[in-house]
Symmetry: C2
Subunit: 315 residues, 2 copies
């Protein structure tokens, strides 16, 4: 691998705020992205699963990405999701991200058809890479079988790496199965393939085995503590720090994740509009909301400076 600087560390799949009419809210979006970068995230995996990205149109995503960069979020900190069901959409979003100078893209497989072959998936990724045709492209494969229902197998990674060694940069493993992450690390990490855990629960294990960090839902609300595990994973306090972030994650996992993330931000930003989600998701019930905030409060959880961050928003 010859690419000089690859992104690493803790990345948040940034939640996408909506206005009451369900249109994306660029002001809150920029503000939250800046808060995340100021509070531990080394990068932003915008337009991930937790971003409700697949509930946005292609144009809505492109406008939001352009807005972030215009408002001063560095493109080299961005890893937008660009994998769509349609080949032409994936090419369009990926070309757009590369042209804007993004650090990389995180690419879902086409996820409508199930039981498709590795041959078909290989052909999809190969067509995207060839059509984008840009040496700057750093492609991270997105393995999230519980949601996409279309897995990225080790055999597929091997085949893609062999054909596109300069482009296929890594993977986000959101299988929730550490043995799968470990197999990816064992097979490919030494050759410069960057493995990100899909949850901070596996962050310390991932770092000990040659991984590069994590891209995690709760990076949206707890970036400081998660980042500390990344920064000090080889130090004496790593196990205790890991235990703490896992405990916070476990609270969040009792609730529907995307609605819960937004409810937490709404609470700590003192900004109820943040709670809005697009269908088919629904907001937390008042009882869920109360329970979640109480549980986090009991852990001493906080999002420092979030309520004041409004001052840095788009005028």
């Amino acid at each position: 691998m010859t690419t000089p600087k690859r992104i690493s560390g803790v990345l948040a799949p940034v939640v996408t705020p909506f206005k009451p009419d369900l249109s994306p809210d660029p002001e809150r979006y920029v503000r939250h992205c800046k808060w995340l970068l100021d509070n531990g995230c080394r990068g932003l995996a915008v337009f991930g699963t937790n971003s409700e990205a697949n509930s946005l149109s292609i144009e809505e995503r492109m406008v939001l990405l352009e807005t972030l960069i215009l408002e001063g979020v560095p493109a080299d900190k961005l890893m937008p999701g660009t994998g769509c069901c349609s080949l032409t959409d994936s090419v369009r979003l990926t070309s757009h991200a590369v042209a804007l100078g993004c650090a990389g893209v995180l690419m879902l497989p086409p996820f409508y058809y199930k039981g498709v072959s590795d041959d078909g998936l290989y052909r999809n990724f190969a067509e995207v890479i060839e059509r984008v045709g840009d040496a700057r492209l750093q492609l991270y494969l997105y393995h999230i079988p519980p949601v996409s229902q279309v897995p990225i197998t080790l055999a597929l990674i091997e085949r893609l790496l062999k054909r596109f060694p300069e482009t296929v940069a890594g993977v986000k493993d959101s299988s929730g199965d550490w043995s799968n992450t470990k197999a990816m690390l064992d097979a490919f990490a030494k050759s410069g393939f960057d493995v990100f855990a899909g949850s901070e629960v596996f962050l310390l294990d991932n770092m000990k085995n040659g991984g590069k960090g994590c891209i995690t839902a709760t990076g949206n609300i707890n970036p400081g503590a998660i980042s500390k595990v990344f920064e000090t994973w080889s130090g004496p306090n790593a196990d205790a720090l890991q235990k703490d972030i896992t405990a916070t994650r476990n609270v969040m996992q009792k609730y529907p994740m995307m609605a819960a993330l937004k409810a937490v931000i709404a609470h700590y930003a003192r900004d109820p509009e943040w709670a809005t989600v697009r269908p088919p998701l629904v907001e937390l019930t008042p009882a869920q909301n109360k329970g979640l905030i109480a549980e986090l409060g009991a852990r001493g959880f906080d999002m420092p400076g979030l309520a004041a961050a409004g001052a840095t928003a788009i005028a």
Copy 2:
């Protein structure tokens, strides 16, 4: 229900032909649509699962739909698929179809997020209906859990029918589970909710229980024989005719359906380019192709006039 004329009969989810560069091929598309309407299909459910619709961009679908109508395919025979993961895309495609005078739309639920609630799905469909805001809209729900992994429950249908009785017109049940189709018929058919079986295997049973026809993959290649079951379902030969179309279906089901449909059209049209599929699908292997054509030939299967239909294509 006050709508004067609803579509019924056999509809094909029209396969979408691609050029060698994988762009949609409007010439072959128009030609096939006209052949289908001349050979038994009462309507065309363009942009369905078997159309590889989710492998097309929104713009590619809109251009193809406009092309069909400009080239003389009657809009009142068309039931395009318009359900996307993104609310804004679903609204855009549905508004477009209604503005063009389409008979109805066949709407998938948003299918990226799994395990979503009926509340969230209700909100999705209700938002689409309200945002389209056009009394001409006839919405058919698309239940295909083996692919979408997001079911349309009886409770959801009941709730939507109660709120939008003039708009929610029916369902395509591609569950493959006759007991589910029967439950939909028993619960809603008498109140004017039109149930289409998702396979001709259930066509006779559907008609006997108050259904309105079928929307079936193999309608692309066997519309005449399937249509005969629809036209004569109460006659003395219905069981024998049903047995025959089921046998042909069973041959097709031994192969990956979309690639097999295109291979059959390529063979009978003497037009090898028809076999092209977009990733993540792959074409049949030569051995599969040979086996499929031989099995159909042994059944005396034919697609009359298909090879000559080129004459009716776009100049």
